[in-house]
Amino acid sequence: MGILGRIFKKEAAPKRVFLMGLDGTPWGLFQSLCSQGVFKNFAQIAAQGSVLKMSTTVPEVSSVAWTTFMTGVNPGRHGVFGFVDLKPGSYSTFFPNSTHVRSPTLWQCLGKEGRRSVVVNMPSTYPAQEIDGSLIAGFVAIDLEKATYPKSLVPWLRQIGYRLDVDAALARQNPDRFFEELHISLEKGEEVFLRLMREENWDFFAAVVTGTDRLHHFFWDAWEDASSPYHSRFLEYYSKVDELAGRLYEALNGRAVFLALSDHGFGRLRRDVYLNRWLEENGYLAFSGAKRDSVADIDPARTRAFCLDPGRIYVNLKRRFPQGSVLPGREYEQLLDELTSRVAGLCYETGPGKSEKVLRRVFRKEELFRGPFESAAPDLVLLANPGSNLKGATTRTQIFDTEGPFTGMHTQDDAFFLSDRPAKDPGNLHILDASHTVLAVLGSPSLSSVEGRMVLPD
């Protein structure tokens, strides 16, 4: 290009991405809320762009799903497989946090390229790590000071009464107060989103609402049952979420690509399924004594497999575990085959002569995870059919239960992805495609190090 060409060439404004996260909002619910008129703003954005059904990680829990989104790589590369993971070479568990994520996050990649990010309330970002921009961590953040970077934001967050989360226990103790807290948390979140949108010089902004997930855990039945006393409150909360989306979109004024997504879907919980109990009753697991608080209490000599939430089965393999009882090679493979075929037949009765199959699919780890931390992955991961809520608790004395205050459970194949411009549906859209799309829109050179596919036209 000649000198005049260079002088008069109008530089295209660098693209920015604003991403709104709705934790646990399923595609089906999103569509219904649009058609019922509850989602006015989202419906308008979807009409000019696209809203697609998206699948998420297996297991479909927020810690794995959001970590996968934020790194753009599968758990075999980022190393987080659940809300609790096993300490290497041990039956003890720990809570993985942001310091255990072994791949760079999207904002770390962007930071190295001189681009700034703002991340608010994204689960699994606690404790807040240094960022080129600002970060206020989400679930399971417990201390505002440790959840915030830079620390200079803390006094303001305290002053406005910012909520790190709602107290979920209120849902059963005092539902009215719970709904009040959901709304307050949403309002405080909006105050933070809008101020940081104005005052930060950002290229990537992630604003996540997690009240949606909390609502679904306790009041999914209210969504399905229009006669429920909480049905209208369920819709009212979602209409406030939609109003928030409208104000955020308006504030962007077309200066960023607007995306929204959920990290997993939700559905009606019919049965809790306690897999350690199933393993115990079928001779695969035994406890050392009366204490059975966690998998650390198993008798390794008499245990061939055990489970962590939600459906992660670990073989008690020699050399992997301190007192492993299963030999690598043929014995290991035979056990996996046997477990797969037996657990696949697990059913619960729904009425006289009627039963429901618990599992949709049993995955071997190599089908789901690829990377340097694959060796830390569970050997089998179970994916449930709608209604069956897989549990890794060790304290239960029966396989099936329906007790508890929960009426909703996570689902894997009906999260959503929204864009304010038409997307090309690549088929089998996955949450990794969303991460890829963020970096692709931003023109990041780090694109080559993430997985997934570009969903928006170039």
Binding site: G79, T99, H100, V140, R214
Partner: protein, 200 residues
């Protein structure tokens, strides 16, 4: 006696292995560990200045460094090696020999390594004036399953070394420092939060 291990840092010439190894050794020593660093380029310069760069000589030097790391590791020392070690087969051989072995791949494109090279050897190799140069006329065989990949941008010695430290902490080969783990009170709060949502 504490259990030793070897951190084996591999990558193209000029990718920043030596600097990362030096910073890693510094952090380990600051934490009171018995750490020793073996840097291929220093060993060549100080002890083997006449050693050639042919494939067999390079593999021989890699095996020798690996042997020393093995001796250090079995005596409870934390060994940090920085070596081009272009042969995947030889590195895998060392993994088997040493056992407690963390392979770190510094993934830096040839072009970037060439730009960073102050010795001019890359340019000489590219012009054909220097032969047996890994990345130019000797292929570098990338690890297939390294424990750690330092992506472009992470070759900064401090960023790279801290990423390695995090992995060693997760493996529980070195103790964690405050900040990465929760204390008992935090654990109790997190347990309650997760139980309130039915996750435990």
């Amino acid at each position: 006696m504490a259990q030793g291990f070897t951190v084996w840092i591999t990558g193209l010439p000029g990718c920043g292995k030596s600097e990362i190894a030096a910073r890693l050794e510094e952090i380990l020593l600051e934490r009171g560990a018995d750490a020793e660093r073996l840097d291929e380029s220093q060993i060549r310069q100080n002890w083997l200045p006449s050693l050639g760069y042919g494939r067999a000589e390079q593999d021989g030097l890699t095996r020798f460094l690996g042997h020393v790391c093995h001796l250090l590791t079995r005596n409870g020392v934390l060994a940090v090696a920085a070596a081009v070690s272009a042969s995947r087969e030889v590195r895998n051989e060392l993994r088997g020999l040493i056992g407690r072995f963390v392979e770190v791949h510094v993934k830096c494109p040839v072009e970037v390594c060439r730009k960073k090279d102050k010795t001019g050897r890359y340019d000489q190799a590219l012009q054909g004036k220097l032969t047996n140069f890994v990345g130019v006329d000797i292929p570098y065989e990338e690890p297939l399953h390294p424990e750690i990949v330092l992506e472009p941008g992470e070759e900064d010695p401090d960023i790279g070394a801290r990423k390695i430290i995090r992995t060693l902490e997760v493996l529980e080969w070195i103790p964690r420092v405050a900040g990465s783990d929760y204390n008992a009170e935090d654990e109790e709060k997190i347990t309650k939060r997760l139980k309130d949502l039915g996750y435990l």
